[in-house]
Symmetry: C2
């Protein structure tokens, strides 16, 4: 791996061809870079905007290796990439973010241990390997609590609520008796996130703190500026920076946090996403350089782009049939519509988003 | 042709795969639309971001027809599309802008007649079919003057200066004795342009007036806001709107004008470009909805997007070897770099542009 930046004309390999891969590919094109997208199905949204495409299973290591041999750097649009896949890709091309970021973010126990090991508050949690573990831990972390599988959870999947001491068994069954963590439910004022980018040279930049509202376990809206004090915003950035640095991360990493504590606000980290993130989609229309371009810049060893915000923004996801209202949104003043090129609007599926933008307050 | 807008998932056919086709294709992707790009060589910048590509000569009418049969609408990145090509495409799919816009803009005599026929000032001009015409007209439109071929001129090509009454013969030779116009050189304070978009329903929107500086016959910088009075800006928009309406144009049309007259400023139209335009590239970073997206919206029958400007901007073209400084530009705060994915930086070739953006004054 060289320290020289990848020049324009280089080929970016993207594992994952969903909307994040699509927006990464478009961002790469702005910089004169080409994209080769690898996806496990042929109907990938990112295929519509990529110079090259490959279809293969993520655990078909020969296919992954062939893909990686054709590109100058490999990155991922999702964190649940199997370790063997990353290794196969890494044998042929540099892979960013680094393996450590995946190891931490793929596993909720690793993630909690890592964050609390940095002295950063998290919700109370316990490692659950057996029903006995759960029955014991539930006394220490009483209901309401969440039981979450250690791996492969997103958008509220792989988790269940525990509301009474008696429901340990049904909860254990609900998550398929998989290795899990028990997590105390945090009473919070708001959810925020910090979309952070770290360059190959260790430079870190932060987009403005975002305030997020979830609905049915899926992000509904993200708003900037967040309704937080200057001090809390600074603390949120400090936490995100500490995490990015400790991971040795390269690219965008998004840290989700809860604001707790009422009159004396405090922060607890909820989740680390080692990638461009839904709560950063507003950067496409309210910043000069989007999270997608900054991720590409970082993994290519370019100088990071300007993260300053020129406008206020509210991002709203278009989930499932929401997308049927595209004409209404397209006609709204101050609104940018982003659609992902997915053919079928299944319930719960992210079909697009809109950014409602207004002059900076 | 139906009045219903083309829904997300539709295929946009783009004749021409240069940087304009590339940025149109990217803009289409934002709206969930796919692009099929037709180009006469396989190394087209737009091919890197298109869902489908076709290589063929523009006058291979069978190839053009096959292309048009696979798309839901056809548009063009350049104005010099042969009439037979537009006809072949139009037999299979709706074509926007309409044929009239091409007929006027492809031919400098038609253009001058059309604009002056609307009562809009232009530079003094004369139709030149023979050397005798030139020798006669040069007495009425004395040097310094420009002799321009009626067709296929761009970026200062197909034209020559006439500085003395004696140089008629050499000038006539220089432009290849092709049908031409003689045009009086206008003494101007500044060059401006109005990037205008007109929808299928006749709605017209104007981006803010741009001030342009050319170098060696090629656009060097475009700046917004232009240094013009409110009244002159309004007049410029009125002229652009009159032209867009009289053409029955659909899509973006850019009208270049000279500001003349010193203390009592007046406007004269220099050129009509029936397409997205280099002097509108700043809209990518200083407006919510760029000229490229608004062109796509217009040809698809969507509501036009918000053309308001959130920032001041100076666009600078990267011509030929200018692009070698990409690292320097990428590191500049407040600067967005756009590179076109062209392999070879030949002299005079547009390789990219940068937008330097600052808070709105």
């Amino acid at each position: 791996m060289t320290d020289a930046p990848l020049p324009p004309g280089s080929m970016i390999g993207i594992l994952g061809g969903g909307q994040l891969g699509r927006m990464l590919s478009v961002a790469a094109s702005r910089l004169g870079l080409k994209s080769h997208v690898f996806n496990d199905t042929p109907d990938a949204p990112a295929f519509q905007v990529a110079a090259r495409t490959s279809v293969g299973d993520y655990d078909d290591l020969d296919a992954v290796a062939r893909f990686a041999e054709q590109v100058d750097v490999v990155t991922c649009e999702f964190e649940n990439v199997p370790a063997a896949t990353l290794e196969a890709a890494g044998a042929a091309a540099p892979v960013f973010p680094p393996v450590k970021s995946f190891e931490i973010a793929q596993d909720r126990l690793n993630e909690k241990d890592f964050v609390s090991g940095l002295g950063i508050p998290v919700a109370p949690y316990a490692n659950i390997e057996t029903l006995a573990d759960l029955k014991e831990s539930i006394l220490r972390i009483p209901p309401p609590a969440l039981l979450k599988t250690r791996r492969f959870g997103y958008d509220g999947k792989g988790q269940t609520r525990i509301l009474t001491l008696c429901s340990a068994e049904s909860a254990w069954e609900a998550i398929g008796e998989a290795p899990a963590i028990l997590e105390g439910m945090v009473t919070f004022e708001r959810e925020i996130s910090v979309v952070t980018v770290r360059g190959r040279d260790g430079t870190v930049r932060f987009y403005d703190v975002v305030e997020n509202v979830h609905k049915d376990g899926i992000l509904d809206t993200s708003q900037v500026p967040a309704n937080v004090t200057t001090a809390l915003g600074a603390e949120a950035r400090a936490i995100a920076g500490k995490i990015a640095g400790a991971l040795g991360h390269v690219g965008v990493v998004t840290v989700e946090m809860f604001q707790t504590g009422g009159a004396e606000p405090a922060l607890a980290v909820n989740e680390i996403a080692p990638r461009v993130h839904n709560s950063g989609h507003w950067t496409l229309d309210a910043c000069l350089i989007s999270q997608f371009e900054n991720h590409i810049r970082a993994i290519c060893g370019w100088e990071l782009g300007d993260v300053s915000r020129h406008s206020d923004a509210v991002m709203t996801n278009l989930i499932g049939s929401d997308v049927e209202d595209w004409r209404k949104y397209a006609a709204e003043p101050g609104t940018a519509v982003h659609l992902y090129g997915k053919a079928e609007a299944r319930p719960g599926r992210k079909m697009g988003h809109i950014n409602r933008v207004s002059p900076k307050t």
